[in-house]
Subunit: 759 residues, 2 copies
Amino acid sequence: MRRSILALLVIGSFLHSAIADSPQSGETAPLDGFSSQHARSEREWENKFRALPSADKQREYMQLLAARPHHVGSAYDKQNAEWILGKFKEWGLDAHIETFKVLFPTPKRRVLELIAPTHYVAKLEEPAIAEDPTSNQRDEQLPTYNAYSRDGDVTGPLVYVNYGLREDYERLDRLGVSVKGAIVIARYGRSWRGMKPKIAAEHGAIGCIIYSDPRDDGYFGGDVFPKGSMRPDQGVQRGSVLDFASNYPGDPLTPDRGDPNAPKITVRDAPSISKIPTLPISYGDAQPLLAALTGPMAPEEWRGALPIPYHVGPGASKVRLVVESNWDIKDVNDVIARIPGSSEADEWVVRGNHHDGWVNGAEDPISAQVALLEEARAFGELLKQGWKPKRTIIYCAWDGEEPMLLGSTAWAETHGRELQEHAAAYINTDGNGRGYLMLEGSHSLEHFMNDVARTIEDPESKLSVFERERLADIVQAKSDDERKELRQRPDLRMMALGSGTDFTTFIDHLGVASLNLGYGGEDEGGIYHSIYDDFYWYTHFSDTNFVYGVALSQTVGTAVIRMADADVLPYEFTDFSDTMQKYAKDLQKLLQEKQDEAREREQELKEGAFRATLDPRKATVAPPAEDVPPHLNFAPLENALDTLNKSAERYKVAFNRAEAAGFTGSDSQLTAINQKLIQSERCLTDPAGLPGRPWYKHLIYAPGIYSGYAPKTMPGIREGIELRHWQEADAQIGRVAHVLESEAALLDSASTDLESLSK
Amino acid sequence: MRRSILALLVIGSFLHSAIADSPQSGETAPLDGFSSQHARSEREWENKFRALPSADKQREYMQLLAARPHHVGSAYDKQNAEWILGKFKEWGLDAHIETFKVLFPTPKRRVLELIAPTHYVAKLEEPAIAEDPTSNQRDEQLPTYNAYSRDGDVTGPLVYVNYGLREDYERLDRLGVSVKGAIVIARYGRSWRGMKPKIAAEHGAIGCIIYSDPRDDGYFGGDVFPKGSMRPDQGVQRGSVLDFASNYPGDPLTPDRGDPNAPKITVRDAPSISKIPTLPISYGDAQPLLAALTGPMAPEEWRGALPIPYHVGPGASKVRLVVESNWDIKDVNDVIARIPGSSEADEWVVRGNHHDGWVNGAEDPISAQVALLEEARAFGELLKQGWKPKRTIIYCAWDGEEPMLLGSTAWAETHGRELQEHAAAYINTDGNGRGYLMLEGSHSLEHFMNDVARTIEDPESKLSVFERERLADIVQAKSDDERKELRQRPDLRMMALGSGTDFTTFIDHLGVASLNLGYGGEDEGGIYHSIYDDFYWYTHFSDTNFVYGVALSQTVGTAVIRMADADVLPYEFTDFSDTMQKYAKDLQKLLQEKQDEAREREQELKEGAFRATLDPRKATVAPPAEDVPPHLNFAPLENALDTLNKSAERYKVAFNRAEAAGFTGSDSQLTAINQKLIQSERCLTDPAGLPGRPWYKHLIYAPGIYSGYAPKTMPGIREGIELRHWQEADAQIGRVAHVLESEAALLDSASTDLESLSK
């Protein structure tokens, strides 16, 4: 019954859109990277695979894994690792635990008081909720804190800094307000939390409070927990403030982790530990602090949903903040399972999701860990049925992701050389929800992942998840151009990778082509990094029947098996080349906008426009004059892009011809081609790394120095422009051009190999 | 000292901008409409005039006029009228009171209770505030209510409808929520309040509650009164809900007021009285009601600043609303003062501001009534010094503006024939504040008012108010095109007139060229139509030292004297023609956008995009298919605009040549030209009026049938397109073309006259 409704829908949508698509399961359609004969058997195995993941089992796993707090170093974290290990083994995978010793601070002392003009002592505590059976495990819960906040006991006036972005401080300058010697209160959002104390400290602040405004994360979004899913007034977002983006993720005390015997540095010397004491609080605790502020009104877009006038401060407000941690070394336990490859065992497909949480962590990370487990179980089943993957598959359940990717970074650096030699792709997940497939990753995998998405059925609409996402994008598109692209470009665009989860070391440091996947958009939020992220919440408000958990297993598992079994690795480079051209255009536009803005500001200063419009009853200040940015030489990049474009087109033709001919070559010929392709992402790295942060080797993708999780594309050039380092930006253009030329050369070489196959 | 700083600023700004300007008081600059000899003496009189208005006197007047509640029919309203009359006479003006009998309902019974799922009885009362000495005059205050709400006692489920606009109900349809049989709660803003019950009733609602959300009018904007200027939690906006826009303003019981002896109709038959009972409430009273709603979450942009999740409803909510009025006939007392013209006594310049308030009404309307009084006093002084205006000047202090322009409509209709024959212009104000000169009016006066604005010094920046406004517009401009126009177009654009104050009958019904002026933008709000709009509030939070009150006297008085003294009335028609072209382009763009939207919606429905993106856990509904709007024949309008453009250019040349030649003609020749010019705005009217609302005769400007105060330009065409009445829109194009051709013909005739002067 369901089947025929689906068929009807498929015909309907096909009539109306040339590129509309349905879950592909036809036995005859070609499959990129497979000869037609192998495609047939591959489809059979994939269909068998996709029938295996079970919603009930995911529910069982979650109930068990999220039953108690399982942060790094806790007894239950260890117990979970061992349980996962047991499961991997039970399913027939070759599994073991790798343990690393890392710095993981936990709260020793936390005090926050308003001492003037009135007195208020912040509660700093999330109350248990009667309906929610795991919310009362007080003894095992980590108190609310920001891991890797520096110790300190500071007192000063309070200033509200909105999201605490660099532009927020420029705005404060215009309001005539300085944060020198002050404690800032910033709201969560718009940047990764660790940027807030970092930027505050750069502006002279002595302490940083981060709170969840109900506008962004509370009743503004809906009913609060337990009536609804949203953050209740004493709910707090824990989280790390380690400055990984300017330094490195992973244990802050071992900068040189390539060497397992490298000596640790001291906490005092660790460059990535926050410069000022930092503490997260609830909006219940924030309201009395914000209500005590006077001074200028905050700009309209800074005002949140608390029932108060948002002033910037400081007025007579005075606040004391005390943060002290136990700076202990703890074990992280990564669970690693292996399915050995048959003919191409030296080519690896790596798949991971962390298992540690801040507290009970049902949504983050268990909702996707249970999907990973069902993939592993299903692969165990296939092995029993005789499936033999061509390549080696490695399943990883990471520990210590929350503090700052401790487990994945330690493992990936320890195995760095092997990974650079063998890893064809790393596929990450980190939590799941209801709704749409969200694609992030290396653009050489964009076409591949679009094909996978065409294969997966959305459990609600019964369309392919590709088609549902495409239609949603059309509905939400903001311009005709966007809609036109969505209707004409065969593949959906994939977002670039920033950071914030375990793909970071793989893509940014090692140059392993990576993906980060998950469903969301119809799920609800409100419990991120709080004690309420637990089984009760998840099964009442998120993917309550685990159908998207199953879809995630099917999606990631399909990507893994297809990548593991392909005759020739199904990278595709015209999407990549198209994306690189887009990024280059974005940069030129960015520069142009900065030039226009600076010219306009210059003219307005000359016209006296700011002086004329100052309100004498307000202490506003005209913006400073800024030099007009110089023109930069984009020619090397544009030339490299032309070369890349040609090489990508040539590769596509060669690949398609070779595939149509059945990839008729010797095993060693195919191995040689695959070995080259594995290096294609490595071509985009440079051993010298990015300006000022040599750990980051990838010249196309990186987390932003001042954004954190959010990606910066062609980051050397982009951040040079954003931070007005013109010479640096100019120099980085050449470096990016160079890696794109290397990529083109590699593709040409692979094309030659493919062309010789069919001869 | 102040003088030389000013000179410096002027030089500075002149160097940087070719059209930057300073207060013009040079004795030699030409003055539009004056021979060079007359320009010299005019400048002298204007300079004398502008030195006279006094901030201290304005303060005294306000303290007296706002000392007690002075709504229509109150003892103090009458007393104020008599006091104003006494002042006019004291200053040597020929003054009298004209009294009209009108329907003015006052509250008899008001009940609002939430009866399910919980119980709450709305307070419906604004508390006295200790610091504010006039806030405790309970016995004389009108209770909080919406005048001309229909009587009723209704009980039903409650539904939140955002601002209660037509598009808000379309959105409710998409959420699967109907208001049939429900009581709606709408927030104030985005439309004139009377549209909220009107549109609600059209959708089947049985009652309407209007509240002030703190997002728009409360703590979101700043500290609340008395700490700051903003609306406190029990503050309520009173106001009329008479549906003037689809019918007529003024007494709802005398539709045919051209005839003073016309019989009154009954309240039951009056078409402009609201269709459903309506009551305004505070956000303090609104919060328990809104918090009781369940059902879908309100769309994000609907959510205000109350600390609750905004649901649309209805869920189990049930509300009872009782509204009953005393439907009494009351007197309105217009105070009319006259300064007879010398040579052109049959040409009138009319200037008005109302004197009645909802309660103490310091800001609205007394802040501008006191400016009007200082103009009158200053003209009395000039008369004593020998000034003889060429034209007759009529000063009007209107009564009954708040209920719905009762006094000005009665007077203007009673004197309609004379006004159509004699009135050169009507200049209105209605409240004042700190900041920037806001220009609204007939575009034949755009250039004239720009010249006046170039003459007035801003009390804060010491630039001309023209230049300060221009620079502020540049700073706030949203596009390069806007900025370019602001830097290149000699005159600032003037807003079109909608409604909401006493110019309405003059411009919309009689076709008298009108202006509406005031300062604002740096002043603060929060007390509109509440008991807190009083002397204490105004002198603490608005134009506390009355310097903008003086600037308003100078601005309006300069416009009055210049218009009254000119040899040839200083209308200018190239700005008018330019504006008409802009409006025509706006209409073509509007139609194009509607076509594009309908085509896009059609395509998305065909693609299944809405079906694909419905969240099965929500009751959302796909939008209905809509026909793609047809193309309309804009050619008649475009041809008329070409003709108008030529005629306006020709008139400009003729006018300038005649002026340069000193307007050398006989008095009767000049009189004939002026008589023609006076008819120029009348040319834009048509006795048949606008579709469905024949009282509105002007074919270029009108209040919107569904917006109320906000203007609709070329309203017959525009509303035809907006309401999808395609044939009507097409027909209206011809009518607008016709009046613009008449205008062009009049200009050609006046040009011929001017050209013959210099021969």
